[in-house]
């Protein structure tokens, strides 16, 4: 498993970053003269698929902007007689949505910060010091990449009962902070850095912890960004674990809370779609601004599911 993750981390992620515009332009050259028609067909097919991919989102927005009475009109219409924000207003004022935003933001941030700290410290230790059992520890951590989190829900839940963490923020956060993949990514990064800087600092008498914090962490900014992004997105969108450990609606994260609105709102489709739109919005807005970093952070590390 380890080698796969490494491969992705090393190869396509980098390519995405550095060689984007230039080689692409050149690639087009050879067949530019020959098959203008081919290019046009390719473009047409792509546009078609892009529209297909866009329709569900557009339909959700269109529904959310309708008066409730017109959402179930037959035949279907995209634009209702009046465009209204009533559904958004209703969802934001009556529902638990703001609370779920807060819960998701708080727990995802905590998970991200703790994951980055624990994993970078461990990777630093594994990469820059040798100790007895070093390889055993690294092997044990890598083996964890193979364990699907889904099979742990039952024993993790009884463990949370034991710690009295059911229905608490810590109950959401703690089981998500030990990420073997994050250790692997940091270790790869640290392994690739020349030692000169560190040697100088160590000779100056700086403690190892200071070397880690003042020299290595600033150097590792790109690795931190990648780990932070995939950790945050994963935590923000995680459904199964928060669903298991939380039953109190006030403690629910966004994905869990939204999974309950269908029953809560009955068949008020404008409101259901308004909450879906609002629920998807935060990451999409962030994505618009940090497209490249997010694609790299997620694809570059090759994690899924």
């Amino acid at each position: 498993m380890a080698s796969q993750v490494g491969q992705i981390g090393a190869a396509p992620g980098v390519g995405l970053d550095t060689r984007r515009a230039d080689p692409a332009a050149k690639t087009a050259e050879p067949h530019a003269g020959k098959s203008r028609l081919g290019d046009r067909i390719a473009f047409g097919v792509l546009v078609l698929f892009a529209i297909l991919w866009f329709v569900p989102l557009a339909w959700a927005v269109a529904t959310a902007l309708k008066p409730e009475a017109e959402t179930t009109d037959i035949p279907v219409r995209w634009i209702a007689s009046t465009v209204t924000l009533d559904a958004f207003q209703a969802v934001l004022s009556a529902g638990n949505l703001p609370r779920w935003y807060f819960n998701s933001a708080l727990t995802s941030l905590a998970i991200t910060v703790i994951t980055v700290l624990l994993a970078s410290l461990a990777a630093f230790g594994l990469s820059r010091t040798r100790f007895r059992g070093h390889n055993l520890v690294f092997g044990l951590i890598l083996a964890g990449i193979m364990v699907p989190g889904q099979i742990l829900i039952v024993p993790l839940f009884t463990e949370m009962q034991f710690f009295r963490m059911v229905d608490t923020y810590w109950g959401i956060i703690l089981p998500q902070v030990a990420s073997p993949v994050a250790v692997f990514i940091f270790k790869q990064f640290f392994d690739g850095i020349p030692r000169d800087l560190e040697e100088a600092a160590t000779l100056d008498g700086a403690s190892r912890l200071r070397v880690y914090w003042q020299i290595w962490m600033p150097l590792a900014r790109s690795a931190i960004a990648a780990v932070a992004i995939f950790t945050f997105v994963g935590a923000w969108n995680n459904f199964l674990w928060p669903f298991i450990v939380i039953t109190n609606p006030d403690m629910m994260t966004l994905p869990v809370g939204l999974s309950q609105v269908q029953t809560a709102y009955g068949i008020r489709y404008a409101q259901i779609m308004a909450s879906a739109v609002l629920g998807g919005l935060p990451l999409l807005v962030v994505f618009l601004f940090f497209q490249r970093q997010i694609v790299q952070g997620i694809a570059g590390t090759g994690i899924k599911g």
Binding site: S3, G6, Q7, I8, G15, R19, R20, P23, A24, T27, A28, P30, H31, K34, D39, F43, A50, P56, W59, A60, T72, V76, L118, L121, R130, F131, H134, V137, G139, A143, M146, P148, Q150, I151, L152, I153, V154, P155, E159, L174, V177, P194, R195, R208, W236, N237, I244, L254, P255, V261, Y269, S275, G279, L284, F287, Q291, V295, G302, K304, G305
Partner: protein
């Protein structure tokens, strides 16, 4: 088993680090420094190991223990030792087999479109220069949506009568389809939703792989008179083989773990016809409280995942050797 799988990676990363000076320092600074450096190393790793032990290693062990007992979630535990009793029960349980089959069926149905369609889209996008970022946005954006947003939207699209899809079907004079209520169609609908939701991930992996291919190769081929399609077949696809294997491995593993979107779209229905194995674990553990039995099912599934992973790594390793040799 696990250690064997990871061993090459360990040597691999060490090989990339010529400057590992631990032995040098030991020689230079004597025994104390080495001992202290060793202690510091352990100190750095310990915080992670504590979390790892508590929230990964321990549940793995505890889950296996549970699977050997008649263990209930309620009460302080009726813990009669059953040995392999739970496993025998699972083996004889038709619900276990049917839900395992649904997971496998979902994997068989979702993997081909997620691998092939993402490849086609990436090939097209790599060819088209204008607005490539827009296509990346269109295909990747759904991947960032929480699963419940995805299932709310698609549940609405799939509605009978006034749902968008059925609305257009009837307008075109066709019959309505019971997207989520017809047992023969429900799994297909789930696959469609999944493809829409997650294809962006494979798409960007393929795009990245495509950009690693040197344009010079295409130029040479074009001089030799190879047409666009010939170039794709004889240059692009072979050079993408590694990316494809990788995507295939990740996709199969991801598909096997399916739960969220099925649970939220159909709740495993109609009439349990889409219930995946993870949902069966969830139901046994959290609605009938038979955590011992649920753990046994988990572990059979875990074993399946390990066997498939190891098989795939072997495949991947062979590919790489062939590529290097």
């Amino acid at each position: 088993m696990a250690t064997r799988a990871t061993a090459p990676a360990v040597t691999g990363t060490r090989g990339q680090t010529p400057g590992r000076t631990a032995p040098v320092r030991r020689a230079g600074q004597g025994q104390t420094a080495s001992w202290r450096s060793s202690l510091a190393g352990v100190g750095f790793v310990i915080p992670f190991l504590v979390a790892y032990g508590l929230f990964l290693v321990w549940p793995v062990i505890q889950g296996f223990r549970m699977s050997l007992f008649n263990w209930s979630l309620t009460g302080s535990g009726t813990t009669d030792f059953l040995g392999l009793g739970n496993y025998r029960e699972a083996w004889a349980d038709p619900n276990f087999w049917s839900s395992l089959w649904h997971t496998v069926l979902f994997t068989l149905l979702s993997t081909p479109p997620l691998v092939i369609l993402s490849l086609i889209l990436a090939l097209l996008a790599n060819r088209v220069i204008p607005a490539r970022w827009l296509f990346r946005l269109a295909f990747f954006a759904p991947y960032l949506l929480p699963v419940s947003v995805v299932t709310l939207i698609w549940g609405w699209l799939y509605q009978p009568g006034f749902g968008l899809i059925n609305g257009y079907l009837t307008r075109a004079g066709l019959d309505e389809v019971g997207w989520l209520s017809d047992a023969n169609v429900a799994m297909i609908s789930i696959v469609i939703t999944t493809v829409w939701w997650t294809i962006g991930f494979n798409f960007v992996l393929y795009l990245a792989g495509l950009q690693e291919i040197s344009p010079d190769i295409y130029e040479a081929a074009a001089l030799d008179g190879a047409t666009g399609l010939e170039q794709v077949r004889s240059i692009t696809l072979p050079l993408l083989a590694r990316t494809t294997t990788l995507i295939l491995v990740l996709q199969v593993l991801a598909s096997l773990k399916v739960f969220d979107q099925i649970f939220l779209l159909t709740n495993g229905g109609p009439n349990f016809s889409t219930r995946p194995i993870i949902q069966y674990v969830y139901e046994q553990g959290f609605t009938t409280y038979r955590v011992g039995f649920a753990s046994a099912i988990s572990y059979i599934f875990f074993l399946l995942i390990i066997v498939i992973s190891l098989g795939q790594f072997a495949l991947l390793g062979r590919r790489r050797e062939r590529a290097n040799g």
